[in-house]
Amino acid sequence: MAVYTKTVLLKDTNLAQEDRTRDFYTTFLQKLGESSLSELVQVVRAADVGVYNQGVVIKIMPDNIMYAQVKDSDIPRIIDATIKEGTPLADLQVKRAGKQLRIVLRNCGTIDPENIRDYIGVDGYLALKKVLLEMTPEKVIEEMKKSGLRGRGGAGFPTWMKWKFARAVAADEKYVICNGDEGDPGAYMDRSVLEGDPHSVIEGMVIAGFAIGAAKGYFYIRAEYPLAVERIQKAIEDARSCGLLGKNILGSHFSFDLEVRLGAGAFVCGEETALIASIEGKRGTPRPRPPYPSVKGLWGKPTVINNVETLANIPYIFLKGGDHFAKVGTATSKGTKVFAVTGKVRNSGLVEVPMGITLREIVYDICGGTSSGKQLKAVQTGGPSGGVIPAEYLDTPVDYDNLQKLGSIMGSGGMIIMDEDDCLVDIAKFYLGFCVEESCGKCSPCRIGGTQMLRVLERITEGKGRIEDLAMLKRIAFAMQKASLCALGQTAANPVLSTIRYFEAEYKEHILNKKCPSHKCSKLASYTIIQDKCKKCGMCQKQCPAGAIPGSREDGYTIKQDKCVKCGQCFEACKFKAILKE
């Protein structure tokens, strides 16, 4: 077997473009071959290296040197200087932005996720060994309690309590489920962990299984994550062949095995009871709780469902101790949280930060502020169940409770940065539209309430709103919060409520003055020709599909407001910026 002296990890961090690492990978291997280094250096295509939008990034381990914007032409000098000599190239080098603390993503981008030996090489499965050979299930739960870890899937329920409840129920079979049905728009932290460090999740599951007394676990991963599924499947097989899954793990009396189930794309299947129904082959709809899954879950047996990110924390907790883990974070929220930062931000991507860091630090210090350079208007957290936090609260320390106080939630960690050009009514409509689309249709408050609210928002953004609409939105939202069966319906109105709470004036501008202050809502825009700037070229008239621009090259042009369909074609067509959009 080859013994490598160095590992090179490759990642194309420009997510919007086609992945170029395949060609780069081939070239790199070829150049290594030419330098007779193929036997000594392994090259891995990584899932996440912690920097984003920096072109092709390579990371050289164990030197921990990272280069960004790497071109094919850079390969020879990288090989000569860094790989052979260990000397960094200052012009290519980048560092991950400060203030991050990587616990969940500790191995992402530093090991080959498809090689179990890489994971073992970074103390992988050592926590499991400690748990199986030195601890009782009660001790394990006690340690989890010390760590203060709360569920990272959204609700923030203390993980040790879930385990304790499931442990307390006597049953012939129990199950552990890893919830990998990540579905919030723009969120991909679970995917990155599954793809970048699958064994840490498996190790977390085996420990959970030992704690509650389960012999079987399921990965529930959405089918839209084929690489994650592939890597988890390989990791399960590798772990099994190493005796880390299956009968008498590590020679102990504990046996545990894993199976993968694919989600078919319903967002609501991230909800515990709907997820269970889905694994059981039923229609994915929530059922009433109690009984909670920890008492009566999959196939009617006690079941613990933990999210990917939660599980990835667990080996770390047992390696370093619960007390050590609890040193990071705030009084009620321990450890770190991974956020998927997107929107109008300079450096978008995943950031893992200690709980208690302020939003300002995330947005400005780590992510470099707004991409447009314009004023930040608000930060949306918690995905479709969350809310918006206006700029004046940027100095709030981020934890479960503070976000809730501001009318938003931690959720699974989506974070969208909005600047002056974003319309909050439009944002609320987008998120509500997502929930309406993803409602399972079972209970009437969510099914009909969501649809009615969306219709009101559509009306408002089309200039047909009435001032009573605000009261109607609040009334329906309240009924949805209180009377919906599951969290999807109970929280679907949050984006609307929080935008009304902080940006009511913007709603009123849409309703009373039929104006969208950020010009987002196309139906509310009005177009006029600035006669001073107009060169009478006639392009606007040519493009207008509605015949709303009469005139001639001699007399000039005007836009008939009653005929205008607000399509914006004239605005796009005018080369002289002579059309004013308001």
Binding site: E438, G441, S444, Q452, I476, A483
Partner: protein, 584 residues
């Protein structure tokens, strides 16, 4: 002994068995929490969101229908906020429901309409939008109008879990969710066996029986029609619920008077033809038991939904099925042959209307060519109990004060055995009374077979017939059939002795008293009360056994000769065939 929990509802301390839901517990403190999805007969689906209550110390609201009362809970079932939310949810449901109440089959008898009135909702709060979904009347028995469906899930629950038919399911998601057979096909092409349990449990007009009262009014008006009518056993103990009578009141004689006043020329009783069924079926049983020509067990066939279910899902059981037609078909054919001949009436003019607790009877009347054994369609229209109640109201007849009248000869006088057909186990009990006589030549001392009565899903028992142990099973609710048939199949496969000699199956829980065409809001309590009404009728009769009924004797002497005679076989018996579960 179940554990007892102590808790408070609206400040009143109460103790209930552990596991009692807040909804159930609230009744003991005189609170009826409104709901549109919870039916006392079915587990909670938690779909409507109206039964919400508050628990002290929690800012979440709980669904009373599915949350068990826990030790120390302090529940508030109503305050201005709760009422306001309930009102909002009802208004939301109304915004996605047609408001054609005046032209709806459930007008004045609709749970949604009632709640709307209770909450004083008079104005449209949210702009109405409807789903564009067509009506489905392809079964000819029930009509599914998905636009009126509020997705409470009762019909799906009853169809899949109680009846094991799986014709109805939820399709699509979100606001597009609707009730339909899987694959968006029509009910008539689906596994539906037309038991109508969906319609009996529907809170709105989304699933109703196909209304054929118009045809009956038309026939009654027509001068060249000679309208005769028959009422099924279970109808007499249920129709009163629509007119404020106590549960299970037996209104046989008022019904005779009523039907005459509606304009029927002769009023017959299906209990009489149930006696005929017993004569034939008990003889079949005797023949199978003694000659061994056809296999045992014999399985009853008076329930058309059960027959449909068997033909679709269990065609391997055909050889076990009694070939005897159901009582209402027998009355139909006898009215157009025996009765017509004796009274010199042109059978072409006879229009036979049957009043049944059942929606599937509407299907049975044209099920095969054998339902035209008289040379005409033997039963022309079959109405449900609910349709008859409407006809009574349309006619303006004060049902409550009608005098008692007797039925018309020669197809009316029944033995006690005939009337207990309406309760689960009744056919078995009635058949055993006569079979005992046919096999032994003796009469029973005690005619009651208590072991086959009651609401247990499958009732297995042994009966001593002159030293021979006859093993029987009675199942009701199609979901309970699998167990019984499984035992038969297993014995067959292993070449072992059959577990049963005689099996009775009724599709609807409780038998016909709980039929799909009966008045709404049936519960086990009601099923028991209705059955008690029938058993009382039986025990009040001097003649308890079908073979002792003088009119039956006369029928055989004058017309049929003997059970299983050539004429009986031609008129009173039928055949079965396997049918595809999906017709496509």
């Amino acid at each position: 002994m179940p554990k007892v929990v102590k808790a408070k509802i609206n400040g009143i301390l109460l103790r209930v068995a552990e596991g009692t839901t807040i909804l159930e517990a609230a009744r003991s403190v005189q609170i009826k929490i409104p709901t549109l999805c919870k039916h006392p007969d079915l587990p909670a689906s938690a779909a409507c969101g109206i039964c919400i209550v508050k628990a002290k110390g929690s800012n979440k609201m709980l669904r009373a229908c599915c949350t068990p009362l826990e030790e120390g809970m302090e529940i508030i079932t109503h305050d201005p906020e709760i009422v306001e939310i309930r009102r909002t949810v009802i208004e939301l449901i109304l915004s996605n429901h047609p408001n054609d109440c005046l032209k709806c089959g459930r007008n004045n008898n609709c749970e949604l309409q009632k709640l709307t009135a209770d909450f004083g909702i008079t104005e449209e709060q949210f702009p109405q939008f409807l789903r564009d979904l067509p009506k489905d009347s392809s079964t000819g028995t029930i009509v599914l109008d998905p636009q009126k469906c509020i997705l409470c899930g009762r019909c799906v629950e009853v169809c899949q879990n109680n009846q094991d038919v799986w014709a109805l399911s939820f399709l699509d998601r979100g606001i597009k969710t609707h009730i339909s057979p899987a694959g968006q096909i029509q009910l008539g092409e689906s596994p539906c066996v037309r038991c109508g349990q969906c319609s009996a449990h529907c809170p709105t007009g989304a699933i109703v029986e196909k209304d054929e009262t118009g045809k009956v009014w038309e026939a009654l008006r027509s001068e060249d029609k000679y309208c005769v009518v028959q009422i099924a056993p279970a109808v007499r103990v249920a129709i009163g619920e629509a007119f404020g009578f106590p549960m299970g009141a037996n209104l046989t004689k008022k019904l005779y008077a009523l039907l005459r006043r509606l304009g029927f020329k002769a009023v017959f009783d299906t209990s009489f033809s149930a006696d005929v069924t017993i004569m034939e079926e008990a003889s079949e049983f005797e023949e199978r038991l003694l000659s061994g020509k056809k296999p045992l067990p014999l399985i009853t066939s008076c329930c058309p939904s059960w027959v449909d279910f068997m033909e679709k899902f269990h065609p391997d059981m055909i050889e076990h099925f009694s070939s005897c037609k159901s009582p209402h078909e027998i009355l139909g054919v006898l009215s157009k042959t025996y009765y017509a001949k004796k009274n010199n009436i042109d059978p072409a003019k006879i229009f036979n209307v049957s009043i049944m607790p059942c929606t599937a009877k509407k299907y049975e009347i044209t099920r095969s060519d054998e339902m035209f054994a008289s040379g005409y369609q033997d039963v022309d229209v079959s109405l449900t109990t609910r349709e008859l109640a409407r006809m009574i109201k349309q006619a303006g007849i004060d049902f409550t004060t009608l005098p008692d009248e007797e039925c018309d000869s020669i197809l009316g006088e029944y033995a006690g055995a005939g009337v207990i057909f309406g309760a689960t186990g009744g056919v078995m009990e009635a058949a055993l009374r006569s079979a005992y006589n046919f096999i032994t030549g003796k009469e029973l001392g005690t005619v009651e077979f208590e072991n086959v009565r009651g609401l247990k899903g499958v009732k297995e028992s042994e009966v001593d017939v002159d030293g021979k142990k006859i093993k029987i099973a009675v199942a009701h609710g199609l979901g309970n059939v699998e167990y019984v048939l499984g035992r038969i199949r297993q014995a067959k496969a292993q070449g072992k002795e059959m577990p049963y000699h005689f099996v009775e199956v009724m599709a609807c829980p409780g038998g016909c008293v709980g039929g799909g065409g009966q008045p709404y809001m049936v519960t086990d309590e009601l099923r028991i009360k209705r059955a008690e009404g029938l058993y009382q009728d039986d025990s009040d009769k001097q003649i308890r056994c079908s073979h002792q009924n003088p009119y039956i004797k006369r029928l055989y002497e004058e017309f049929l000769e003997k059970p299983l005679s050539e004429r009986s076989e031609k008129l009173l018996h039928t055949h079965y065939k396997g049918r595809p579960v999906y017709r496509r």
